[in-house]
Amino acid sequence: MFGIFKGLGVTFGQMTKKKVTLQYPDVRINMPERYRGIHQFIPELCIVCNQCARICPTDCISLSGTRNEDKKLRIDTYDINFEICILCDLCVEVCPTEAILMTPRFELASYTRDELYKDMEWLYGNHLGEFGSHEQAMAAQAAREAEHAAAAAANGVEPGGDS
């Protein structure tokens, strides 16, 4: 009989412990920097080398490009089918120019399947946020990082620490 009371003691003791529930839509889980969420795509950087489409284990990336007058390839369409994308990060790994990256965004629920077929615009918008172009977004990010580093230095913490 003694073991039962020990167990009762454990559960009673838990009453006063800190609760771990996260009030999800209001409070969001703080995803670390490396989190492999929905992609962002930066057409300015893409050289249409097709490596991402080739490495993709589920063949969810399709892209097409044309050759410019200066003999450079320019991306025309870039689609990721998030119905089958498994967010394995291999496309990001092989991209030589970091044109495709992953964001900490993870919410992709939708009412229809076709909404999960994301095109270049959408993936670019994922990267741009409120900024007009890639340059502006990068500048804003650099500024944010500098600010972060300054704040961290002021607090005596090494920059680039855990998130």
Partner: protein
């Protein structure tokens, strides 16, 4: 003290009775609503969660929302079910649970409840009726899981009726009455105080048997989710399902109220009003039931049976003998 039996039936008293019934029903529905809320909160706290917190302030309207949802859900009657029995079962399960509340003395002047001189007997007799509803539900659903659940339920509840009845015998012997009001009054004057002290064995047996009667963890075999999906109410939906849930929680309240009455001195207590004392004591027992639910795994059928017949009944019988001997000496 006001008693229905002593009062002749006149239109006015009939009206009074009806009002009493409605008030108790409303009260009980309110209690059950917050019982469920309380259970979810307590178990949540014990598991590092915060429990319901979205509907209404602090989630207070969660149970109301649940009931509303059940009300507007489609009422499904399986094609192969025994239709008449299927429809009847929830009613048979629910009505006795509500009827037993008639004899519980909630306050010192228990204006809405019957001062029945066989109150305890009435309670135990009526509460057994629920088994019928459950077995009926298990049979009528024409579902194998339901059938197993109904079977288990019948075996379990019949087995545990006996220790439950035996365990309260000691109290009856001490008080010399089956009237719950008299039992409470006796406890105020008894030299040991509340009967939980002289009847501690009876109290333990009563609590265990009560848990089994309620089909609650660790005796929740009839609805064992991990084995039988939902046991006897697997096929029920909507408001019929709500009836089963309702009767289960009314019984939680009723059995706690009975335990309070029999062992914890009922409404008696200093300073505070009597109904508040009753509420506090009942809540404590209800909390205990929830606490056990948060801790225990489920027992197995055969162990459950042998526990009832080989441990609880002998212990309860021993308690009866002991009480008799003590009363002879004392």
């Amino acid at each position: 003290m006001f008693s229905w039996q002593a009062t002749p039936l006149r239109p006015l008293t009939l009206l009074g009775m009806l009002i009493g019934v409605v008030v108790v029903l409303a009260l009980v529905l309110g209690i059950v609503t917050y019982l469920i809320y309380f259970e979810r909160k307590v178990i949540g706290w014990m598991q590092g969660r915060i429990g319901p917190n979205r509907v209404g302030p602090l989630g207070l309207l969660q149970s109301v929302a649940d009931v509303l949802k059940l009300l507007i859900k489609e009422d499904i009657i399986p094609a192969n079910a025994d239709r008449a029995l299927f429809l009847l079962a929830p009613v048979i399960a629910f009505v006795p649970s509500f009827m037993v509340l008639a004899v519980i003395p909630y306050t010192a002047s228990h204006i809405f409840t019957a001062n029945l001189n066989v109150g305890l007997l009435y309670y135990i007799a009526l509460s057994s009726l629920t088994i019928l509803g459950i077995v009926m539900a298990g049979w009528a659903s024409n579902n194998k899981y339901s059938l197993l659940g109904g079977m288990r339920s019948a075996a379990q509840m019949i087995s545990y009726e006996i220790p439950l009845g035996l365990s309260v015998l000691g109290v009856v012997m001490l008080a010399g009455s089956l009237n719950l009001v008299t039992i409470v009054q006796h406890q105020a004057t008894d030299r040991f105080g509340w009967y939980i002290i002289p009847q501690i064995i009876g109290f333990v047996v009563f609590m265990i048997a009560a848990l089994a009667e309620l089909n609650r963890t660790p005796f929740d075999l009839p609805e064992a989710e991990s084995e039988l999906v939902a046991g006897y109410f697997t096929e029920y939906s909507g408001f019929r399902f709500a009836f089963f849930m309702l009767s289960e929680y009314v019984y939680v309240f009723a059995i706690s109220a009975l335990a309070t009455t029999l062992f914890l001195g009922g409404w008696a207590g200093p300073f505070l009003p009597s109904w508040l004392w009753f509420a506090i004591k009942t809540s404590a027992i209800i909390f205990f039931l929830f606490w056990v639910r948060a801790t225990m795994p489920r027992m197995r059928g055969d162990q459950l049976m042998s526990f009832a017949w080989k441990v609880l009944i002998p212990v309860a019988l021993f308690n009866v003998v002991l009480t008799g001997a003590l009363s002879l000496i004392g």
